[in-house]
Amino acid sequence: MKSTKTILTGAALSLVAGSAFAGSHMASEMTIVSWGGAYSKSQLNAYHNPYSEMTGVTILNDDSSSTAVAKLRAMNEAGNITWDVVDVEAAPAMQLCDEGLAMVIDPDTMLAAAPDGTPASEDFGDMLVSECFIPQIVYSTTFGYRTDLVGDTAPTSVCDVFDTAAYPGKRSLFSVPINTMEWALLCDGVAKSDIYDTLETEEGQDRALAKLDTIKDDVIWVSAGSDTPQLLADGEVIMGATYNGRLFSLIEEQKQPVAMIWDGQVMDLDGWIIPAGLSPERQARALDYIMFATDTQRLADQAKWISYGPARKSSAPLVGKHADLGIDMAPHMPTAPENLSRAFLMNYDFWADYRDDLDAKFQAWLAK
């Protein structure tokens, strides 16, 4: 009988402990959704910690950005929104905005002006791709390669990925049509400006898949952001597509024999949205946080921990050195002029229309 009693007492204790633990964070707390890992760490250092220090608000991290649209939609349907600020890429932000799941932001009243007084709408400029989206960083999806495994002539062009004769070995690509099909067409001789018109047609789609057929057996298809860096570190692939921040960390922080190609990289934005339908009190707090976290200095600060470019023009000159390594970060930004010259811009509207269709075709092609 002793054991039963022990179990019961233990359970009662843990219940009490549980509720005590649960009760202790109440006062003023907000949930911020982001990606986790190094990216969340850079936000913690640049935004969350200073903000908490300043206001006493406790910030809770939820690493759900990769599934944010689905969850926000479900929360909205259930009428119980538990998130205060959400970090998403531009395309999902546009979708959330269209569905009325994100709050409309007026940049000039809700966001901080640049130090010289330039209003936020001008300072962000083209980056304001949706009326609900507050851009934070510019990132690129690009290729990294193993310097010791690619032979004497290092690859310089995105099309070297499709050249299995010059660069034999495996390469890794994301198992989604976005970016992959654009690269295929680009390397099949389609001009950058014609790519999306071509992709709209059946023939263009077949052409992209036919180009991908030439390297299909040499590709390891990945689904998570951490896959390609791991594969490169293992020497499992000789080149692979991932985000430029991951490659920076691989090269500079982890000192792996890896280099990156700044060619044909696809630029995209990542930023904040505030869910629609928050209580006025929570909404005010979320706006206060956004005002703070997207000002010129804060955006520049984030680049100390991760190599993504600040979305404000006024932040660019303030980008300093890496917090631990002391390297000058400016040349590693996807927004640095010399990196920008051969970049490729994604067409959000095209993918909003064609994602479902092309994804079905792409998956069917992959399964063949």
Partner: protein
């Protein structure tokens, strides 16, 4: 099984051919790695057979042979392959010394029935080797990744430094990360809160229902059983989405209508969701134990004036406890290792260890998850030992002797 067979010496020809076979196998492997398999085969067979001949005919005592062989293999290994060679040499020499005499003195038959034919003896050992290989399949992947938790780099890769046993290739930083990083600590704490309570809920409700189910005249027994074990049948991703909507509604009601604390409601949601997933395991294990339960015991207790509650706790419970505990452990591990449902039903303040591990695996590369796994394996060994002790105690209670 433990019939003692009188053992006797075996003919030399038998010992030599079996050891030669073993030597040939090893020789082929070594020969292949040096690019000459046939030579390895012949040399391996010849050398081991010769060693066996010398050992059995010239050295009268097993112990001397074993030490001698180990020493010889150590020197040979050191001379040809360096430190690693010496280490494996000692082990190999020791094993060979034991193996030769095990065959020669007939020790391998000591624990078998005396009437077995040689074919049966061969099958007996082949079967055990097959089982050994399956156990190896089960355990090797886990043992292999453990050293990676001491990796000085942030990857799941055996670096050249690690393979050279260079101390620079190793570090405790991933353990340090686990113990100092807030996110890991919080999720570990959450798992330790959620899993036991969820287990308690599923065990108490599940045991009651299992007792009800095991009564003789239960109407709609099959349908009820099907409903109760349905959480195991429905694919997890469907359960996760379905439960999300239910618990979001429930959470809203509890927070706004009843006015409960947001975090408390959050924990309740996760606990209930996990309890549901654990229930089928409890039902199945407890009904299985109840199948053999002798109902005259409860009648006897009632006869002597015990009320049903007393009867349950004093008579029935102790007897079905092993089943309850085993079901509880299944339920516990279901909650403790659950990734899909928690990501839907839980919110950030209820983040559990598997959720954090999932982020660790997908959004960043962090061997911290291996450090956590190593710690948890150590904990589970502790848990299993406790369980085994409990089992032995319950056996003693029931007056059974270990088989």
């Amino acid at each position: 099984m433990a019939a003692l067979t009188v053992i006797s010496r075996k003919p030399l020809s038998f010992v030599l051919s079996v050891t030669a076979l073993l030597g040939a196998l090893l020789g082929v492997l070594m020969g292949m790695s040096m690019g000459n398999a046939p030579l390895g085969l012949i040399a391996g067979a010849a050398i081991t057979a010769a060693v066996a001949y010398i050992a059995t005919s010239a050295i009268p005592e097993e112990r001397t042979a074993r030490y001698g062989l180990s020493a010889a293999a150590l020197i040979a290994g050191l001379y040809f392959f360096g430190l690693v060679g010496a280490l494996s040499g000692v082990l190999w020499g020791w094993f060979l010394g034991w193996f030769i005499f095990w065959l020669y003195e007939g020790g391998y038959r000591a624990r078998l029935h005396p009437y077995l034919t040689p074919g049966q003896v061969l099958w007996y050992f082949t079967f055990r080797i097959i089982c050994g290989l399956i156990f190896a399949f089960l355990i090797i992947p886990i043992i292999v990744v453990m050293p990676l938790s001491f990796n000085a780099q942030d990857f799941f890769t055996f670096t050249p430094e690690m393979l050279r046993f260079d101390p620079a290739g190793y570090s405790l930083k991933h353990y340090n990360d686990f113990f100092t990083n807030n996110e890991w600590q919080r999720s570990f704490k959450n798992s330790l809160i959620i899993a036991p309570i969820a287990t308690l809920v599923s065990v108490s409700l599940g045991t009651l229902a299992a007792i009800g189910l095991s009564q003789s005249h239960v109407p709609f027994k099959r349908a009820i059983m099907a409903i109760l074990i349905s959480p195991m049948i429905v694919p997890l991703i469907i359960s996760a989405t379905g439960m999300f909507f239910f618990y979001a509604g429930m959470g809203k009601f509890l927070e706004h209508q009843i006015g409960l604390d947001k975090n408390l409601v959050g924990y309740m949601k996760v606990v209930l969701a996990h309890a549901i997933l654990g229930i089928p395991f409890v039902i199945i294990t407890v009904t299985a134990t109840l199948v053999g339960f002798d109902n005259s015991l409860t009648r006897a207790a009632a006869n002597m004036g015990a009320n049903p509650v007393t009867t349950f706790f004093r008579v029935q419970m102790p007897l079905i406890l092993p089943g309850v505990i085993s079901g509880g452990l299944f339920a516990f591990i279901t909650s403790f290792d659950e990734v899909v449902v928690i990501m839907f039903v839980g919110s950030a303040s209820q983040k559990t260890l598997p959720w954090q591990m999932f982020t660790g695996l997908r959004e960043q590369i962090s061997p911290t998850i291996l450090a956590v796994a190593t710690i948890l394996v150590a904990l589970s060994i502790l848990l299993l030992t406790t369980l085994e002790l409990l089992r032995r105690r319950s056996e003693k209670l029931r007056g059974m002797t270990p088989a």
